[in-house]
């Protein structure tokens, strides 16, 4: 019997992206550059997060024409973002046959209590998380892939590190608990007990976990891999750099060789200026953190 869109098929695509770099692009031309730099997938956007942050106002799903233009430009998977809770934007992206939907805090949320019921879709979803409970709630809603949120559009990886440390640390702590203690742990994490049990048993999330938010250099990408990420999303870090194609290829190389400092050094040489970074305290003062969106 043939079955489309089983959870194994949805989470399986994330398995195939492992060890790779997913790059934000805003045009067909950028998509082609990302593909030739070695991206495993592209995220089709109207604007990269740094520009969303600068523009202010309400950030929405990209124009379907833009998404299609990017789909036609490359053969690697194309992802696109829907606003948190905006299941109609997600249905539109599904109708366009994007390969993955990112229910993303980078766009302006439309529902302050509920995320999208992701089980209702054939297209798989990736969702952001700042800690283990948030990751497990998203998986319970049907997410087939998790990414740490970090703080998008800052070129500052400190928040992504905080989130990966938090998720990794909590997974290790669950593994040390007695079985009888897991019910209380589930309550504390506000996460379903069956998922908490599974994480405690296997020592990992039940889906692939990438890292995102502020990654701007080859060393940043390798750092996230060392902290347990299985791949990385790079948003503004590529096309806000002086030489996007070389920066993209260098981040891809460092992600493959993340345990080899000599290779990371070689990849980091003479790339020109990385994107300008922002202090998190400045971002906070100027209108708040994107990572606090989502519940």
């Amino acid at each position: 019997m043939r079955e489309e869109s089983t959870f194994r098929v949805k989470s399986g695509l994330a398995e195939m992206l492992k060890g790779g770099v997913i790059m934000d692009v805003v045009s067909a031309e950028q998509a082609r550059i990302a593909e030739s730099a070695g991206a495993v997938a592209v995220m089709a956007l109207e604007r990269v997060p740094a520009d969303i942050r600068a523009a202010g106002g309400v950030a929405r799903m990209a124009d379907p024409t833009k998404v299609e233009e990017i789909q036609q430009a490359v053969t690697i998977p194309v992802m696109a973002k829907a606003r948190i809770g905006h299941f109609v934007e997600a249905q539109v992206l599904e109708a366009l046959e994007v390969d993955y939907i990112d229910e993303s805090e980078v766009l302006t949320p439309v529902d302050e209590a509920h995320h999208i019921d992701k089980w209702a879709f054939k297209v798989p979803f990736v969702c952001g998380a700042t800690h283990l409970g948030e990751a497990l709630r998203r998986i319970a809603e049907g997410a087939a892939m998790i990414r740490s949120k970090g703080e998008a559009g800052t070129g500052n990886v400190v928040e992504a590190v905080r989130h990966m440390r938090s998720i990794g640390g909590d997974i290790r702590r669950l593994g040390s608990l007695d079985k009888a203690e897991l019910a209380t742990a589930a309550k504390e994490h506000q996460a379903p007990l069956d998922l908490v049990r599974k994480v405690a048993e296997e020592g990992r999330l039940p889906v692939v976990m990438f890292s995102a938010g502020g990654i701007a250099t080859p060393a940043d990408a390798a750092l996230m891999m060392r902290l347990g990420a299985e791949g990385v999303f790079v948003g503004s870090g590529i096309f806000k750099a002086e030489d996007p194609e070389r920066t993209g290829a260098a981040i891809v190389e460092a992600t493959t060789h993340f345990e080899d400092p000599a290779r990371i050094a070689a990849a980091s040489r003479d790339l020109g200026e990385a994107m300008a970074g922002l202090e998190i305290s400045t971002v906070e003062a100027q209108g708040g953190l994107l990572q606090q969106r989502g519940w």
């Binding site: 194994r8 060890g19 495993v40």
Partner: protein
């Protein structure tokens, strides 16, 4: 007798899933990222992943020549999904086939299905993810399974290539095939070596 050493190409993709299956079956594994990782391998796995990323990684690392030498010397190979593409005429040129990428369509068309593969022990549940199929193949290529009339599992000499992902579905028979071949090769090599020393 030492277990055979299986190299798993680890430029990108689900190489860890292959490593887990192989180690459960008792093999020794080595991830392959550069030409120096290739020496002394008894078998090779080219995993699933993104074929364009893998192609540019193989080029960046200068791996195409060493991989071809390894396989042309008779080392058994298992390729899954992107691995099947890597082996075709337009990529490493080790298998006399032409693969059609994303042949079933975008991710919403990805599926799982029961597949009958008598040559490797019968029915199995196969997971196809943005999978390729074999668009064209030479006479020496044996087709082991088809979906919608298109070959999705082929064998030629010591090379077995499939469009699906046995490594993520708990299926071990394809890896057992590889290990059986690799073990034989490993024993032959050690017999030759011991014979050489006795002379």
């Amino acid at each position: 007798m030492a277990p055979p050493v299986i190299g798993v190409l680890a430029i990108q993709g689900d190489f860890e899933a292959h490593v887990r299956v192989l180690e459960r079956l008792g093999a020794e594994t080595r991830t392959v990222r550069t030409p120096k990782d290739i020496g002394g391998l008894d078998g090779l796995v080219i995993p699933g992943g993104e074929s364009t990323t893998m192609t540019s990684g193989i080029q960046r690392e200068g791996l195409a020549g060493p991989l071809r030498d390894l396989v042309r010397a008779g080392t058994p190979v298992l390729g899954t999904c992107a691995g099947l593409i890597m082996l075709d005429r337009s990529h490493l040129g080790l298998l006399d086939i032409e693969a059609e990428r994303n042949a079933f369509g975008r991710q919403v068309r990805s599926f799982e299905a029961d597949l009958d593969m008598p040559a490797l022990g019968g029915a199995l549940r196969a997971v196809f993810i943005r999978a390729p199929w074999v668009a064209e193949h030479g006479e020496g290529v044996e087709v082991l399974a088809e979906v919608d009339g298109h070959p999705v599992a082929v064998r030629e000499g010591e090379i077995l290539a499939v469009a699906f992902h046995p490594e993520i579905e708990g299926e071990t028979r394809l890896h057992e095939w590889l290990l059986e071949r690799a073990g034989r090769r490993c024993r032959q090599a050690s017999d030759t070596k011991n014979g050489g020393q006795a002379e």
